[in-house]
């Protein structure tokens, strides 16, 4: 056991953990904001939607589908120019964030559309009948009525982001994934490999647990 523990550099492990948190949550916040805006746009411009638009809808839909189809590891390489432009470098935790957002925002946008589609059309119709404006319908009906699904979508997105950060880490983004790869795989340090894995699993469980609890509390259906 002592042997196992002595093989781990705790400062390094802690720093990697902090980097993973930073990459995951930083990109999650941005991905959720951008994804929700795209989701609202997609939902509202579809046929029969509040702002039906036969031009914008298919274009945004196509972009979202393309971004979702490109494997993350390729996406990271493809958007290196954008990362360099935004962050100035392609190394380090901050540099991982643009590619994480590019991957997660379209994913969350899809989850938002699914959540909005589940909102009872009858309540939207009732709101129209009461004289609600389109913006009132979005902010007072669509978002509150789909909130549980939107929140569980945040969890699902957050969890996939954690596994993306591990991949981003392997390419030089830092974090637990980088640590596990550099020390665990290349230097065959099993203690580091297992501990890093355990920390990632723990993080996923915590996010899922918190998410489930919030959803359960606000879901009054």
């Amino acid at each position: 056991m002592n042997e196992f523990l002595s093989a781990i550099n705790f400062d390094q492990m802690l720093e990697a953990f902090a980097e993973t948190l930073y990459m995951s949550f930083g990109s999650l916040i941005l991905a959720v904001i951008i994804g929700m805006i795209i989701g609202i746009l997609l939902y509202c411009t579809q046929t029969g939607g509040l702002y039906e638009n036969k031009f914008i809808n298919p274009i945004v839909d196509l972009i979202v589908n393309i971004l979702r189809a490109v494997p993350f590891i390729i996406l990271m390489i493809l958007i290196i120019p954008i990362t360099k432009f935004l962050v100035g470098t392609m190394l380090g935790a901050t540099a991982a964030i643009p590619s994480l957002v590019f991957a997660a925002a379209p994913f969350y946008a899809r989850l938002c559309v699914i959540a909005f589609t589940e909102v009872d059309k009858g309540t939207i119709e009732a709101s129209k009948a009461m004289g609600a404006s389109k913006l009132q319908i979005i902010f007072k009906v669509l978002l509150p009525e789909s909130l549980p699904a939107l929140i569980s979508g945040v969890c699902v997105t957050g969890i996939s982001l954690i596994s993306y950060t591990a991949m981003a880490g392997a390419i030089g983004g830092g974090g637990l994934g980088n640590l596990a790869y550099m020390y665990g795989f290349i230097r065959r340090n099993n203690a580091v490999l297992y501990t890093a894995t355990a920390l990632i699993v723990l993080l996923v469980f915590i996010i899922q647990g918190i998410g489930d609890r919030i959803v359960k509390k606000i879901d009054k259906r």
């Binding site: 009858g122 309540t123 709101s127 129209k128 009948a129 009461m130 009132q136 007072k140």
Partner: protein
Amino acid sequence: MIELKNIVKTFAGKNTEIHAVRGVTLNIEDGDIFGIVGYSGAGKSTLVRIINQLEKQTSGEVVIDGKEISSLSESQLRLERQKIGMIFQHFNLLWSRTVAENIAFPLEIAKVDKAVRQKKVQELIRLVGLEGREGAYPSELSGGQKQRVGIARALANDPKILLCDEATSALDPETTDSILELLNRINKELGITIVMITHQMEVVQKICRHIAVMSEGKVVEEGTVKNVFEKPRHEVTRRFVQTVGAGNLEKIRSDLKKKYPYGQILRLIFTGEISDRPILAEVIRKIDIPVSIVSSNITMGPDGPMGEIYSHISDGTQAQYKQFTKLLEAEGVKVEVL
């Protein structure tokens, strides 16, 4: 007054056009309770949705209190809609809001001050009899209670018109009665014009003053409920008049069973195609057992009596009961043993 002038609504179907409403002209007076009945697919919902412009008509005019509302701008239309309440078959409440918050919703939309809002919500909760349930969520309410929330919400901005699309169709007979009573009271006390869409004739019979019968996108018969019930002219109307009570059968059955736990309870259905000889009297004389008529809604159709009679027979043998049924059936009366 609501004036519908030659309303046509055509939907683009997959292959052919669907003419949901085919030229309907109707006048609905202020303070009336106006029933629109017809079978499913007759175009009732489409017509009522044209009144508040949830659906734009293909041609024709909707004039409310002298104002052509299909020509209003979007923001004018929103203001107009705040004065037209609507309730629905499936209530369409917001599940994420409590009873009080659901009722406050249309007031928020109309940008009413919070203090005024709260006072109004309290009044409405009292009006619909939901005291003590303010903080409940819709999922914790019964169907009848949900519809009461729907009604309170529809009345929040003091509308002059209340549109009801199958508002009682998802409710059991007792609850239907209590909701109809509430609507009746609202009509009397607040003077609100009510347009009731339904496929249940007994709903019309209970609260409407005027009625229009729709079939295949057209109004085929129209008039006071009394006149239409007494002299149904159109085939569809006749079938409707006959079904009065049919939806209520379960309740009638259990009520009668409670009242007459012995003997037999029969439902005699007169389809209007039998002679106007005093059939019932003749049959009763032949079998010689006590027959009491416990309820009836027979009207004289053009070809003879129509409607149904509930009767109770007792103090005879099983053979006599059977004989009674046979004799009536021989005269063209349909008999059901309840």
